[in-house]
């Protein structure tokens, strides 16, 4: 019984078992929780959401597209549609499926929770950008309307989610769809990104990896069937048209744009100074408020003062105070480049 080898094996076994079952997200427990949640209710809600998205972007919707979207068989999808019709959520006219008012408001409630949750994760937590959508897909079915209202009040009743999508109001109002796909821009035109579509996932991950987010200034360089080449905040970017379509832009007046590459705070060497142009949209929530409280607003002059032992963070003189900022933050604070300073 007290044979050390035997005890050792038992102990390792228990430890291994604990790790396998409780590992976050990949463990047995987490998996079990996830599979259990795919219930009828969720299928209905997801189908309504899909129908609403089709309607909003003016694309037709069919039983096949529902089956594809929800990864269920077409028979199941047909059954689901029948059930929705029975509930009075939608009517099928000729070939297309039409949401009823009731169905639309149900879908909007779900979308509201989804986008609020994404906004919450972006501003109030340090959850990675790539996980926002997955987490929201889960929480949209869990949070009740009143929970969502409470959450909205807590984060200041936001009107846009971090991807640039408008958040439906409690009454289910949504503004008209604005902007146009990036691919519609012509050579040399300026625009700013107002929305980055978060589905399908594979495309969204790619766009995040490229560092694209709402608020960036883009200028089209080349638009062909094979590729779309453009600058985003001065950084050149090449995407396949399929990917570029998932970015919505709005044209902007020319005088506000900045020529050439954006200069950022992290490019300053010790002793050099620069004037703040703005803070990137990628710095959100508390982090953004903190920087603004410290006086990092357009027009403030900042001097690089001191490097730490490892080179990151660095100390900057901001409004008379010495503030240490990490490289990742400094990269997201834009400065006037010398050229625009002369103007």
């Amino acid at each position: 019984m007290n044979d050390p080898l035997f005890t050792l094996l038992i102990g390792s076994g228990i430890l291994l078992l604990a790790v396998v079952s409780f590992f976050p997200q990949k463990g047995l427990f987490a998996r079990m929780k996830r599979t259990r949640t795919i219930s009828k209710k969720i299928l209905i809600e997801d189908a309504l959401k899909h129908l609403y998205h089709c309607e909003y972007s003016g694309v037709g919707c069919s039983i096949e597209s529902i089956a594809g979207k929800l990864s269920i068989s077409e028979d199941d999808a047909a059954e689901l549609v029948a059930k929705l019709e029975e509930m009075g959520m939608l009517s099928s006219q000729r070939d297309s499926l039409q949401l009823s008012n009731e169905g639309r408001s149900y879908a909007l409630r779900i979308i509201r929770v989804h986008r609020l949750w994404e906004k919450y994760l972006a501003d109030e937590t340090s959850v990675d950008e790539r996980e926002w959508h997955h987490s929201a897909e889960e929480f949209e079915h869990k949070l009740s309307s009143s929970d969502a209202d409470e959450l909205a009040a807590q984060i200041g009743n936001p009107v846009f989610d971090p991807h640039g999508d408008p958040i439906p109001s409690t009454e289910g109002d949504l503004p008209e769809k604005k902007g146009m796909p990036l691919t519609a821009l012509k050579f040399g035109e300026f625009a700013s990104i107002i929305h980055v579509e978060d589905e399908p996932d594979a495309i969204y991950q790619q766009l995040v990896a490229e560092g694209l987010y709402p608020g960036m200034q883009v200028r089209m360089l080349e638009e062909s069937k094979e590729r779309v080449r453009f600058t985003a905040n001065g950084e050149e970017c090449v995407l396949a048209p399929l990917f570029a379509k998932n970015i919505t832009v709005e044209q902007i007046k020319l005088e506000k744009t900045i020529e050439g590459k954006f200069k950022n705070l992290s490019s300053l060497k010790i002793g050099e100074s620069g004037t703040v142009l703005g803070i990137s949209k990628a710095l959100r929530g508390q982090q953004r408020r903190r920087l603004m409280d410290l006086g990092v607003v357009p027009g403030t002059e900042i001097t690089a003062e001191l490097k730490s032992v490892g080179g990151d963070p660095m100390v900057y003189k901001i409004k008379g105070a010495s503030i240490a900022l990490r490289k990742k933050q400094a990269e997201r604070i834009y400065l006037h480049s010398e050229k625009s300073e002369m103007n």
């Binding site: 050390p4 937590t125 340090s126 009107v159 109001s169 109002d173 503004p175 027009g299 730490s308 010495s322």
Partner: protein, 479 residues
């Protein structure tokens, strides 16, 4: 009818307002802030005249350059912190002994004879004097002097402006594990006292990083655990090597445990920031205040009152009931056996798997108010469970021996081996924080969940680590 009209009107206004907000867009708050700043600076420009601009004092810049330089930054830091710890450990010995002899050798006998003269019953005398009073006296004599030295020194460094530079230098490392550079300070503070280290996490203003600093603070070997580490290292590890190496090897063993604690704190920080703490917001900024001459009197006052007395008071409050419990488990009998002996016999098989023994487990449970009283409790329990006569002060009365050899004799009689010694050192590093610290964690986080995590995570790690050390040790020994 009118009321209905009003509600309709209100709803119309609200929905118009909502639509306007979509039109205004997201930049609204930023724009507001920017215009406030530009207004303020325009007003300031008009109405504030600055004295002719002075060159920023040169020595400050030079000092900053030296303290954060690539080659000197870390050596200077290790040197300064090393001196502070050395002063604390060395300087505390004499006053500790003086306070202990006053409370234990002078006051204790007086109280005893007093209680005898007024005819206090045996149990009341035991609970009050041998239990509550002794525990309190012990805690004061071992806790007060090191804290009264460490905290003022630390506060002086902080006041002068050196500690923010340490955070600045250390941030690179802490960034990699998802924590804040200021955690280096709260960790260093934890080497003095974990409860004080946890209070110190207030300087971290980012919620996620603050929680990480609180949960991992217990991995800093606090003042109450250093003496245990040193004693056990001298007795068991020093004895395992040739005599001329004993001193250096046992010192290295203690340093190894402290460094192991730092490694664990970094690993756990990393794990926490990647898993359970993702849901907390994170915002980094660190101000480097200008250097200023330390205000010595004020520093002494605040560090003695705000830190030393504050922590000591909490410790005393928890020590008194624990003293009562310690005395009671040694004196209440069920079927002719004391509660302590029953628990020890019952927990021995489990403790054996961890390479420890039932006495150690019981000591860590009942000596929860302060790590300082773990060794006296272990000695008392060992003597009692073995039924040794001629040593110790009687059932339920904690004691310490003047000579290390005598302590060793008791422990070896209690069945201790080199493995028990090593595992006790590991378990002393990896076990729950003392009750003062647990209470402070609750006060700071206001969350039962995080308090439980900070309490049970180290125990779990301690059980895992000692288990594997014990099994592998025995496996190697059996070959």
């Amino acid at each position: 009818m009118v009321a209905k009209e009003k509600i309709k009107n209100r709803e119309a206004i609200l929905s118009t307002a909502n639509n306007q907000r979509w039109e205004v867009g997201e930049n609204f708050h930023d724009t507001l802030m920017e215009s406030i700043y530009s207004n303020a600076s325009a007003i300031a420009k008009r109405s504030v005249t600055l004295p002719a601009q002075k060159e920023t004092i040169n020595w400050e810049k030079t000092l900053d350059k030296i303290l954060t330089s690539r080659y000197l930054g870390f050596p200077i830091m290790f040197l300064i912190l090393g001196v502070v710890f050395w002063l604390t450990i060395e300087g505390a010995n004499v006053p500790s002994a003086m306070i202990a002899s006053f409370f234990l050798d002078t006051i204790h006998p007086i109280l005893k004879s007093l209680s005898a003269s007024i005819g206090l019953p045996f149990w009341a005398d035991g609970v009050l004097i041998d239990g509550a009073y002794l525990a309190m006296a012990w805690v004061i004599s071992v806790m007060l002097p090191p804290m009264a030295i460490f905290f003022p020194l630390f506060t002086l460094l902080e006041d002068f402006g050196y500690l923010p530079r340490v955070s600045f230098n250390m941030d690179g490392l802490y960034r990699k594990v998802g924590a804040h550079g200021k955690q280096a300070l709260t960790m260093a503070m934890g080497f003095g006292c974990n409860a004080a280290g946890i209070v110190a996490t207030r300087v971290i203003d980012s919620p996620r990083e603050k929680l990480i600093a609180i949960i991992t603070n217990n991995f800093s070997l606090c003042n109450g655990r250093w003496p245990t580490q040193i004693l056990i290292a001298v007795i068991f590890i020093g004895a395992a090597v040739p005599a001329y190496l004993a001193g250096i090897v046992s010192a290295l063993a203690v340093v190894f445990i402290a460094v192991l604690g730092i490694v664990f704190s970094l690993l756990v920080s990393w794990g926490l920031s990647k898993s359970v703490l993702k849901g907390e917001a994170s915002a980094f900024s660190l101000e480097l205040p200008p250097y200023r001459p330390p205000r010595i009197l004020q520093t002494l006052y605040t560090s003695l009152i705000d830190r030393t007395i504050f922590v000591l008071w909490r410790a005393i409050i928890f020590a008194i009931p624990a003293g009562v419990v310690i005395w009671l488990v040694g004196n209440i009998t069920i079927g002719g056996e004391t509660i302590a002996n029953i628990f020890i016999d019952w927990s021995n098989p489990f403790a054996f798997i961890l390479g420890l023994n039932g006495v150690i487990l019981l000591a860590y449970i009942i000596a929860i108010p302060a790590n300082e009283i773990v060794i006296p409790t272990i000695l008392m329990l060992t003597v009692m469970s073995l039924g040794l006569s001629g040593v110790g002060e009687g059932a339920g009365v904690m004691f310490e021996l003047d000579s290390i050899a005598a302590t060793e004799e008791i422990l070896v009689a209690g069945g201790w081996t080199l493995l028990t010694g090593i595992n006790l050192m590991l378990f002393s590093l990896l076990h729950n924080p003392c009750s003062t610290t647990i209470y402070t964690i609750f006060k700071e986080t206001k969350s039962v969940k995080w308090t439980l995590v900070s309490t049970f995570l180290p125990i779990l790690m301690g059980i895992i680590v000692t288990f594997f050390v014990a099994q592998i040790w025995r496996l190697i020994a059996s070959i």
